[in-house]
Amino acid sequence: MDYTNQKQPQNYSQMEDLKTLDLEESVSETIMRDLRMIAYKLKYVLIPKEQEDNGKELRNWDLWGPLIFCLALAMTLSFKADSTTSSSKSDVFAIIFVLIWVGAFVVTLNAQLLGGKVSFFQSVCLLGYCVFPINIEALIIAFIGSYLPFVVKLIPVIICFAWSAYSSVGFMASLVPPHKKKLAVYPVFLFYLFLSWFSLIV
């Protein structure tokens, strides 16, 4: 059976109908479908114009996207590690990986403790997707960083950091009561600052 000519499902509920046909399709189909979902969610999270329903699409959270971006970032930074840091590659990989997941966990927990009513994984999903600009920045610095002075390297770092922070702050700030907004937003800012700094340094 061939599904390549069907109209691509635009959201998760349409996917449900196709679920029963999973076992009969080829592996590449399954993987491409998941990748398309990730790409769709990525566009949704990072391009502010796409969000017309105030983050409701995020209810269909998934952790594949965050995992892919986290692994990509950790691998990019650890490939360069030997020549530029005095720690080994595995140290760098471990620190970045732990930092992203523990960081996302703690930031979400913080929002919940401040009285925010949000599902835990939804927020981790959002924070994970917003790591994508940091990925871009790490790749830029990895490829052409050695030819640029430190100050010039700061420009893409600041742009990508601002992009990440701006995308996730809108969602985070809407979760908590207004007088605690800055308390919920500051940890997000610190989280992306930390990751940006690492992509600059390593």
Binding site: L114, S119, P187, L190
Partner: protein, 235 residues
């Protein structure tokens, strides 16, 4: 009971677990039960502050001899400060230590990032472990210590390290030692003055045990800071 948690098939289990936990505790007014301290609800009362409160509390730590701080936190100790001041410090230690190492002439710049796990362990053990130790010792000496107030106190005492870390950027050894000693004196005084209330419940000799523990931990923190993170940078 409605927690506002989005109802989703994947979330059902988590929502049900949390609501049944809450129902179990509904019977007793206080959150009791062997694992109450593992739920989110147990800690929510300690996050009842606004950003202005936090800023005022941090400002209260810079003048240790004025007992303003206790008045600021009376009845409303918070945990936001201790957690995020330490997180900020971890970032600043890494950033400033790396900035110190920048050397324009060197071809392949090598930056240290192993400070992250070291700093995390150091700061969180001192900020949260010392109050636990103090509470245990005080209990042993027969007096109760208001636990969350002490954690709050310790967490905010770390904010002395914020400007000190920034100043550690400069390479002058003498200057670094001066500010480290100043930081140690400032935070130790701050802690002792604010613990005075609790200490007054003890006899004179036993007070010195507590003061001794406090001072030792602060000393080890500041020495670690100087000797490991911002040690002498070779030319």
């Amino acid at each position: 009971m409605d927690f506002g948690i989005q109802n989703q098939t994947d979330e059902q289990q988590q929502a049900n677990k949390e609501s049944s936990n809450q129902n179990v505790n509904e019977g007793n007014k206080k959150q009791s039960g062997c694992c109450a301290f593992l739920t989110v609800e147990f800690y929510t009362p300690y996050f009842n502050v606004t950003e202005n409160d936090v800023i005022q509390r941090i400002q209260g730590t810079f003048l240790p001899l004025k007992p303003d701080f206790l008045n600021l936190i009376r009845g409303n100790p918070d945990l936001w400060g201790p957690i995020w001041i330490n997180a900020t410090l971890i970032f600043m230690i890494t950033a400033i230590a790396n900035l110190r190492q920048i050397d324009e002439e060197k071809e392949n710049q090598s930056f240290v990032i192993s400070y992250v796990p070291q700093a995390t362990a150091l700061l969180y053990i001192i900020a949260f472990g010392t109050p636990i130790v103090l509470a245990a010792v005080m209990k042993f000496l027969g007096v109760d210590l208001s636990f969350f107030q002490t954690i709050c106190l310790y967490g905010y005492s770390m904010s002395t390290l914020l400007p000190i870390t920034i100043l550690c950027y400069f390479q002058n050894e003498l200057f670094l030692w001066l500010i480290i000693v100043y930081g140690f004196a400032n935070s130790s005084l701050f802690l002792i003055v604010n613990l005075k209330e609790e200490l007054d419940k003890l006899q004179i000799q036993k007070k010195y045990i507590i003061i001794g523990i406090v001072v030792t931990m602060q000393l080890s923190l500041y020495l670690f800071y100087k000797l490991v993170f911002f040690s002498y940078v070779t030319e």
